[in-house]
């Protein structure tokens, strides 16, 4: 198993972190404070969990004004499809 994959699994191994991912999935984004209100743990613990999730590449943070919001890392599947279509388009033009 690669280190990157190991980090993903260890990030997912914790119930609080899974809860954070579920919340972000439903709401789109959240601040550490909002998440603290959702979970029976301290804000400090929430921040540690967010750091672990970010380290595993599962969430990203973004500053909006004075707050930092977290969201799930997008996978960009639509770009895979578009770029494949572009490659096909160029191939067809050449033949």
């Amino acid at each position: 198993m690669t280190d990157a994959l190991g980090q993903v699994f260890s990030a997912l191994a914790d119930p609080s972190r899974r809860h954070v991912l579920g919340y972000l999935s439903e709401r789109g984004s959240a601040t550490a404070t909002e998440l603290t209100g959702e979970l029976p743990i301290t804000r400090q613990a929430v921040s540690k969990h967010l750091a672990a999730l970010a380290h595993a590449g599962l969430v990203e943070s973004e500053r909006r004004g004075r707050e930092t919001r977290f969201h799930l890392t997008p996978t960009g599947e639509e770009w895979d499809e578009r770029l494949e279509a572009l490659a096909r388009h160029l191939r067809e033009r050449r033949s």
Binding site: L24, E26, G28, E62, T75, L83, A85, A87, H89, L90
Partner: protein, 112 residues
């Protein structure tokens, strides 16, 4: 942030044309495309399923770089580089909050 790269066996000018000629975009990106290729110019993309998106061109560096900002949300940057095999196209899209395949996985894990 989304970061995608593809190496295309075509010269840079040909890839640039496929990225910027509305008729050619209509063959791979959307079904109907309007594009005013200059910074501040408008772009419209329509798909046969009724979806429609609008954008504003933010950067044009012929055969090198094209960037636009979706009017709803997000910025897209295309960069073209010469490589031995042809052209490497890099796409970067930044969107503050986005629903993804991972959302579904995450919510499946939580609700399982």
């Amino acid at each position: 942030m989304i970061h995608k790269e593809i190496t295309l066996p075509s010269p840079r000018e040909e890839v640039w044309e496929a990225l910027t000629d509305p008729e050619r975009l209509a063959d791979w990106f959307a079904n109907d495309v309007e594009l005013d290729l200059r910074p501040g110019g408008g772009a419209s993309f329509r798909w046969t399923n009724g979806e429609e998106r609008h954008a504003t061109v933010t950067e044009v560096e012929p055969e090198r770089r094209l960037a636009f900002a979706w009017d709803d949300e997000g910025d897209v940057e295309f960069t073209l580089d010469d490589v031995d095999e042809g052209t490497r196209l890099t796409v970067i899209e930044t969107v503050p909050a986005w629903s993804t395949a991972l959302d579904l996985q995450a919510s499946a894990l939580v609700h399982a």
